[in-house]
Structures are given as C-alpha cells and as structure tokens.
C-alpha cells in the first residue's frame, strides 16, 4: 500500500525583547543563576504580571509577515501543570483567542512552491531550567518568563524534506524580522513535530505522535523519517492499532530513534482558563501602524535578486534564505562588483572554506568588504582567478588587507605585454620541436605552451594575455 505522510509543526521562538513577558527582569545573559528574577517571575503571592508591549509588537510583526489575522483583542490563559521550573504552577499562555491566526508561508519543493498554512501564533512565557544532580534537581529561573511565540502549522506538510523547508523558511522570516536570535543550539528556536500516516487518497487524519526535543534541522529530518517508518511497518504488520498510539516521544539523537514518554500522558490535562490577573490584551491603534512596517522578507528578496541582478533562482534562494548571507551579499555589491562574481565567491569559495572550518557566515574571518575587494582585484586584472583563491586562503588565516596579502604572496598578475612576450619567446625557443609539431597540425599542444608560460611566470601572467600573444606568435 502507498502511504501519505501528514506532519504539523509547533515551533517555539524566544522573542528578543530586553525584558521578560510579564515583568521587567532582563532576558540578557545572566552572571549567575536566579539573578534575573523578581517576585513576579518567582510567583510570590500578590505579585502581578504586566504585559510587555514590545513582545506584543513582535508577535504582530510576525502576523503581518505570514499574512495572518491579527486579533485586536486576545486573551491570556493559565495552562496548569506542576514542575519545579514553573514556579507559579501554571504557564501563562493563550488558548481560545491567540494574538495571531490564519496565516501561511510558501516553501520551495523540488517541483513547485507549496503553501503551508499557519493555524496560529500565540504569546506565552518560557520555563526555567533544571539540572539533575545526584539525588536532587537544581533550578535556575533566569529563563522563566522569557517571552515565547508559539507558531503552530496546519497539518499541510507531506515529508521530512518539506518539514525542514518549512522550518528554514520560518527561521529566515523570524531572523529578517529580527524578532528572535532563533539560535537552535541555544534553544531560542525549538521545534516539536506531530507525525501521522494515512493510505494515499484517504482524507482522514490517523493517530498522531508528537516528537519533542528536536534541536537541529538534521535531527528533525531523522526523527520524522524514523517515526514515519515505524508507523508504516506497524501498519503493514497489522499492529498499527496497538503500536501507534497518541503519545509524546523523545528523539534520541545518539541512537537515531524515538522513544515513548509514557506515563506523562495522564497528567496532560492543562485545565486552561482565562488568567484572572490579566485583562484581555487590546492592541492600541498605533501598534498596528508600527508593526505593519516590516522589512523585506526572504521571498521578496529572492525575487528582487533575480530581477535586479540577473542571478539564477537557485542562488537567489540560497542567499535570500539567510538574512546574514543576504546582508553579506548586498554589502559586497555595494562596492560595485559584478553580481555573478559576488555570487560565486560568496556561495562557492567563501562558503566552502566556512564549511570546512565549521564556521557560520557571521563568524567569517573574511568580511564582506574584503571579499568584495578581492573580487575587484580579479575584475581589474591585478590577480588571476586562481591566485585569488590563494589570497582568500591567506585572508582566512591572517588578519590582512587584500592588497597587502597579494603583495605578501607575490601574486600580482603580470599584465605587461612586454614581460609576458619575453617569457613566451623563451618557452618557444626552448621547445622548438613542439613548435614544429604544432605548426604541423598538432593543435592540442597549444595548452602545453600556455601551461609552460604560466608555470614560468609562477602563475602570475594574465592568462587571457598569454593566450592572445601565443596565438599571435604561433600564427
């Protein structure tokens, strides 16, 4: 039987406000445990929550970015559960009326752009952190109360590839809006996946399993693939009913498997009710004007790159897919270099070196200005394309200006026709037999002469000039 995969994703994005969702404690890096706390986020009796206006605006910006409905009036609820990292015994979240609902975004698949619905995005607060040690658990509440935007997709996603494409697009949008650092390793962009299967052609939704603890794109893909395979095998072996139950499973990255968290299920009764400490959020009119002014988003940028610079869709999508990469690219272009050269030096040469050293574009040892300068030096024929790669290698390891590096490595291209002609004459007279063969029709030898000249010039001769002068001499 052929199956269809049905995936819905829940993403928790930590908003990059300066203070917590309901109190003025800083959200910035803390010098010590529990220092960024106060009676409100520690749930002392009588302390009352007050909503952070910036978190509201950031949530609204996200709403505009995904063409969603922004509810002028939304409600905070209490979601009740007991855990030491949640001092109040409930999390303040939104339930019936989230601040943002009914949006969508587009993902690129092999064949087409696909629309993925976003059911809702609501504001809530993060929990603290527990460290388990021997017979005790230690609790740090610095993170407790940090604003989160929980973004819930429709079950529109049909494969693990699409899930990753959706998350990457969402990640890019959040970064473009600058509403979150969206750092997966540090947990400011976290994902849970709801996965089920159904026979192809069947519209019903079957039992879904929630997978938690997915903190990299690679793990998300592996976890979903594993889970889908588990469902299909259970179906084919006739044990679907007993093996696939509605539950939460944890992904074990070391073993590449998902494991049941049975036992927690019984307590998943959150008894939501409107928080009596908070009136409904009524968004002031001026917030709508302010939040609607969102920057250019990845899809628009991709289209503009194609139209304005004439670069291909693949590269346009690759560059626009990351705000940091797009910023780097546009900075390079501001130095007046050719867009196609900028694309290849950024996405091929620099990217390969970053990849090899495990660095991200933001930590690139070579900044946009230097890379642009390097391209400029190729364009004005100071160095050859090949020499530029050596210069880039050097710049990757050393703090130096481009011209300095060219000088130091002695890679300045010889563009002086007289100097090149002298080298050519030398090579030709040393290889008279080959010259004769060439003139007798062995044209393949032309490459040999070019190679010899380049070698004699230590790779510094301008190859185009070498070609032209050689042709002149060999007739």
């Amino acid at each position: 039987m052929e199956f269809e995969v049905v995936i819905g994703l829940e993403v928790h994005v930590q908003l990059n406000t300066k203070t917590k969702m309901f109190c003025s404690c800083p959200t910035s890096f803390a010098q010590r445990q529990n220092i960024n706390t106060c009676p409100t986020c520690l749930a002392l009796p009588g302390a009352l929550p007050v909503v952070n206006s910036e978190a509201v605006k950031k949530a609204m910006m996200f709403g505009y970015a995904i063409n969603a409905k922004i509810n002028e009036r939304s409600v905070f609820n209490r979601k009740n559960y007991f855990y030491p990292d949640l001092p109040k015994g409930y999390q303040i979240s939104q339930f019936e009326i989230p601040i943002v609902e009914n949006g969508y975004l587009f993902i690129d698949t092999q064949e087409e752009k696909r629309k993925i619905g976003i059911t809702r995005a609501h504001l809530e607060e993060d929990a603290g952190k527990n460290i388990h040690e021997g017979a005790v658990s230690k609790v740090d509440l610095n993170r407790a109360g940090t604003p989160l935007l929980e973004i819930v997709s429709e079950p529109d996603i049909r494969s693990s590839d699409e899930a990753v494409a959706y998350l990457k697009k969402l990640h890019a949008i959040v970064r473009y809006l600058d509403i979150s650092d969206a750092n997966m390793q540090e947990g400011s962009f976290r994902c849970d996946a709801n996965v089920s299967i159904r026979p192809k052609g069947d519209d019903r939704l079957y039992t879904r399993v929630e997978i938690k603890n997915l903190n990299s794109f690679r793990f998300i893909q592996k976890a979903i693939d594993y889970e889908v395979q588990r469902h299909i095998e259970a179906w084919e072996e006739g044990v679907y009913e007993s093996e696939v139950v509605q539950e939460t499973r944890l992904f074990d990255a070391d073993r590449g498997v998902t494991k049941s968290m049975r036992g927690k299920e019984e307590s998943a009764d959150y008894r939501y009710f409107p928080d009596p400490d908070l009136l409904p959020v009524v968004i002031p009119q001026e917030f709508f004007e302010e939040a609607s002014k969102i920057p250019e988003l990845p899809d628009e940028k991709e289209e503009r790159f194609i139209k304005e610079y004439g670069i291909g869709r693949y590269n346009a999508a690759l560059i626009a897919g990351s705000k940091e990469m797009a910023d780097f690219f546009e900075k390079m272009l501001s130095y007046g270099i050719d867009a196609k050269n900028a694309v290849s030096w950024l996405t091929v040469e620099l990217a390969a070196r970053l990849n090899k050293s495990g660095k991200d574009i933001v930590d690139s040892p070579v900044c946009a200005e230097r890379l642009a300068k390097l391209v400029q030096r190729i364009e004005d024929k100071t160095i050859s394309n090949k020499a530029a790669k050596d210069v880039l290698d050097y710049l990757f390891e050393h703090e130096a200006e481009v011209d300095e590096a060219i000088e130091k490595l002695g890679l300045k291209q010889i563009s002086d026709a007289g100097a090149i002609a002298a080298i050519i004459d030398e090579i030709l007279s040393a290889n008279e037999d080959k010259v004769a063969e060439y003139k007798n029709g062995k044209e393949k030898l032309f490459g040999f002469f070019v190679g010899q000249v380049m070698k004699a010039s230590k790779g510094k001769a301008d190859p185009q000039l070498v070609n032209r002068l050689l042709k002149e001499r060999l007739g």
């Binding site: 529990n34 855990y83 460290i131």
Partner: protein, 96 residues
C-alpha cells in the same frame, strides 16, 4: 458537577498532592460544598453573551520594555528557600 473518589484521585495526581485515606471523606465533602456554592453562578443566563466577555472595560495595561534588576531580591528569596546551593533552588530529584 460532583466530585467522587475517582475524580479526587485524578486531582491528587494532577496537583501532585497526596491525601491520606482517613482525610478522604472530609475533603470530598468540602470540595463538593465548594462546588455547590460556585454553582449558584449557573443561574445566570449567559447564552447570549460572548465567551470573551469581561466585566471590565478596556484592555490589560502594557509596559515599556525597559529592564530593571535588583540582585538583592533574588538573594533574599534564595536565603528563604527551604534548600538552595550555588544560587540554585534545590528540590527533590524530579526525574528517574
């Protein structure tokens, strides 16, 4: 609504509280009396009301995003915690 022994067990589980067997009957009676009292509110006809109704006009106050921290507060609170170490609150182990 009526709370029976089964529901009480479930509530114990959800709230992580344990009620000793000899107290069970007394607590059940009390909880049911609370519910009976609150049920008076059922007499109101709210069928025409929007569930978002709130007796107070306007929205919740909004606050500027300006940080403020007083390290003394957390020090004081940690000092009063039943158990703490290295600026952490310390609780009985919560995972197996």
């Amino acid at each position: 609504m009526h709370i029976d022994v089964e529901l009480l067990r479930r509530l114990e589980n959800l709230s992580m509280l344990e009620i000793s067997p000899h107290k069970e009957q007394e607590i059940l009676t009390e909880l049911n009396r609370f519910l009976d009292f609150v049920e008076i509110i059922e007499e109101l006809d709210l069928s025409k009301e929007d569930f978002r109704f709130n007796p107070l006009n306007g929205g919740t106050p909004l606050r500027e995003d300006t940080p403020r921290v007083d390290p003394e507060i957390s020090r004081e609170i940690l000092k009063n915690a039943p158990r703490s170490a290295d600026n952490f609150f310390v609780v009985p182990k919560i995972i197996e």
